[in-house]
């Protein structure tokens, strides 16, 4: 599994700028996209959509340099030297990749984190980040408990809950802790199926299949996000009602998800990118938090699992229903 799938895409870096220069003298911004996701990347699409809404044309006004390392942030360290080379106007990090950029001080960095950026030490406070970092924090710790509660609301008889978690993720211990507390409070037994990074994922699935669980909870994270279809298929084949963090999992076949709309968050992140590219300092741009949390339900999966009846009790609370 030592496959180094570094995909370094300097989109149009060779051809586009020359054309752009010939057309007009406006500055072409170079944005460094660092992600531990993999392509196709719905978050990057969201971010691009946001930039388009702000009037940026890719190739003409803005050029992306994409650095991906599917599920292995450590490999991203090598991109730091690339970033420090200069001529980058803005770095955008998605997910845990932000950790890699913590040493970067010269380039403004936009992040979208599930953890607490203050705890992580990249901003001084949410109101006034004070450094070269700013962005969005999902603050999903509370949501971890909420997801368990939702499962319990739908399946009151639920006892054993398989919890799939990537331990190579900032804030993972507290997320697990919250989950544990909630399951205990609601009279459930959590079965912790942890793995470290993408390399151990398949092993974790194997382990999970051996657990006689009533349902499955998957922590939202780059590694599981990248393998959401596989996870959904696994849950259906194991007849497990599944709960995820983001609606993308649901789109891929997961039964339910509860959390902030990631894509909308990235679209919104483009607003900050625009302001930073126009000269504002990240230090003065408060870290934003999502205000809308959506409950997504995949009815097809519910049908496949034969839990339509139970699910219907919660449909009135759902923001997104996939049929």
């Amino acid at each position: 599994m030592r496959r180094r799938d570094f995909i370094t895409l300097a989109l149009g870096a060779v051809t586009w700028p020359r054309v752009a220069c010939a057309q007009q003298p406006t500055k072409v911004y170079r944005i460094f996209w660092v992600s531990s996701e993999s392509q196709p990347d719905p978050f990057l699409d969201g971010f691009r959509e946001g930039l388009r809404e702000r009037g940026y044309a890719e190739g003409k006004d803005v050029v992306f340099e994409l650095y991906y390392s599917a599920g292995d942030p450590d490999e991203l360290r090598q991109v730091i030297s690339a970033l420090k080379r200069g001529n980058i106007d803005l770095a955008v990090s998605s997910g845990p990749a932000t950790r890699v950029l913590m040493d970067v001080t010269e380039v403004p960095v936009l992040f979208a984190l599930s953890g607490d950026p203050v705890e992580l030490g990249i901003v001084k406070s949410l109101g006034q980040p004070g450094g070269n970092f700013t962005g969005t924090s999902f603050l999903s710790l509370e949501l971890a408990g909420k997801r368990v509660e939702l499962l319990k609301d739908i399946f009151p008889k639920l006892r054993t809950l398989a919890v799939l978690s990537n331990t190579d993720h900032p804030g993972e211990p507290s997320e697990w802790q919250t989950t544990q507390q909630t399951t205990h409070a609601l009279g459930m037994d959590p079965v912790y199926v942890s793995f470290f990074g993408a390399r151990e994922f398949d092993k974790a699935l194997e382990a999970a299949s051996k657990v006689r669980a009533d349902a499955m909870l998957v922590f939202p994270d780059a590694v599981t996000m990248a393998r959401r279809t596989k996870l959904a298929e696994f849950a259906i084949s194991g007849r497990l009602p599944s709960m995820f963090g983001w609606s993308e999992y649901c789109d891929a076949g997961g039964l339910m998800s509860y959390g902030a709309n990631q894509r909308a968050t990235y679209v919104r992140l483009a607003t900050y990118a625009d302001r930073i590219l126009h000269g504002e300092k990240p230090a003065n741009l408060p870290v934003e938090r999502p205000t809308k949390f959506e409950l997504a339900v995949n009815l097809r999966t519910a049908r496949a699992l034969g839990v339509e009846g139970a699910i219907s009790s919660i449909l009135f609370r759902a923001n997104k229903v996939i049929e």
Binding site: G127, K146, E149, N284, V287, E288, T291, F316, R317
Partner: protein, 625 residues
Amino acid sequence: MRSAGLDPSVRYTGLITLPVRRPRRSLFLRYFFTLFIAVVVPLILGAVSEAWFGYREQRLHVNELLQAEARSAADRIQTFIDGISDQIGWVVQFPWTEGDDDPHKIDAERLLQQVPAIVSITLVDQTGTERAFVSRLGLNRIGRGANMAEDRAVLGARASKVWYGPVLYRRDSEPYMVIAVAGNRAADGVAIADINLKLIWDVIAAIKIGNTGRAFVSDDSGRLIAHPDISLVLRGGAGSSIFNRLTSTVAAANGSAVVTTGDEGKAVVAASVRAANVGWTVIAQQPVSEAFASIRAGLWRALSLVLVGALFAAALAYWLAHRMSGPIRQLEDGVQRIGAGQFDHRITISSGDELEQLAKRFNEMAEELTASKEKSERISRLKRFLAPQVAELVEQSDERLLEGRRREVVAIFGDLRDFTAFSARAEPDVIMAVLSEYYEAVGAVVSRHEATLTGFGGDGVMVLVNAPVARRNPAARAVRLAIDMQAAVQSLVFGWRAKGHAIGFGVGIAMGPAIVGTVGYEGRIDYTAIGSVVNLASRLCGSAKDGEILIDPAVAEGVKDSIAIESLGVRLIKGYDHPLPIFVVARSDLRQSHSQERKSGRPVDAVADEARASSQPQDSDGVLP
């Protein structure tokens, strides 16, 4: 004769170079500025007054606009908050009974689904006990919980049905507030909702005043609650002093718009309205640059109008002033040239007004001057040989009088005796003094008698009578002239002798036909007579002794009745084959006719017994053929 100076160029030069002092302020400049100011000042006054009234009007308009916008923003915020309160009211419609927590909880969950701004809701029964807690983030709680009877929100809601808590900032960033709503009956309990005020952003961001104007909301402490730029709200305490100042400044104006420094450091016009239910201040502001853009545009318009007007006025004033001063310059130049004698100078002005008339008059004047000058030149030319009166007469009647013709004339010759000897002895200045006295005396007499002086030649003089103008009794007239002349010169002779100059004066007169007319070339024109009568007169003059006037028989015949003459017998005159009887004017007659001079003490009868034939007329050659 001297030249009459007909070549103008020679004469002008001396006059033209005379320095003409230019006036201190030219007419052109005066006209130019007057006309210019006459146009530009009203333009400027118009522009200024328009700008002033426009400004006042715009000020009023901006005031109304901002007040309306602030009021509308406040209304929208109130509606937003009231909407939430109303929605919360749904969950306090049914009284609490034992064991019906679930329906209440479902109501609360539906409320959360319905109102995104509500983060969590706590339901409290009539006893003040928490019965349900439903949250988007935290875990729900069902069943009897904490006693909240003394909670501010519960007390507030029970007192006034709806209670609005203060705005609190979570982690010093996101604004939250609590709204508590009590049911109609005490049994319905109280719902306490936690509201995320970030969602007012949608309301505030939708408010646009003009292109860049906007509204924002702050609480009494001046801390921002809502702003189109949400990050200013999320920034927490930082920068709140700016909004605090702005809020208090604008609020102090009691709703009318004030001009102040906005949150971005630019000048803004702002008005405030209070949202009564929550006690917040809504401020609508617009940058001054935009609020008064129309004024500025108007000012620019007026300014460009003034500029265009000024340019136009300048051009017009220049044209008019030039039109006025140009002809005046031309006239001035013309006057100067005429003054310098360039009479052929004419002015062409075709302005079609009084100036053209003036130029026409000027040209007429120049023509008159030319004619008059030509006339005066002619007269002065005639005066060389004619007595002034005769010259006038000739000029007035007919110049053809001067043309050559044969006519009866009386020729008078006179010359000084012993002048040659005197001139050989005397100093030149003495000679010239003597001659000028002599010419003066003779000239005066000739003028008085209106005779024609054909010329002086050294000490000799020739005078004609009856030519060019015919006279009655020319002989007598000639003799009287000769007598006067002899008397005048003799009085001089007396003086000369006293100084030791031995000079005398003799005169000869003859009458007969001669050819008279002008001869000469270019400017040197003389009037003269040619004929034997002239020779005769010259010979007689040569024969006359000092103080004598010899006359020929023709003259003697003409004067014998009026003037006493004596016969000198018959003499042989050079150039004549036969001797001629010669007469002399009697001395008594001479004396008699000079009683005037005698009275004045001048000796007339000082005729010395000089040798009468010793001197010959020296200059009669010129008149002799």
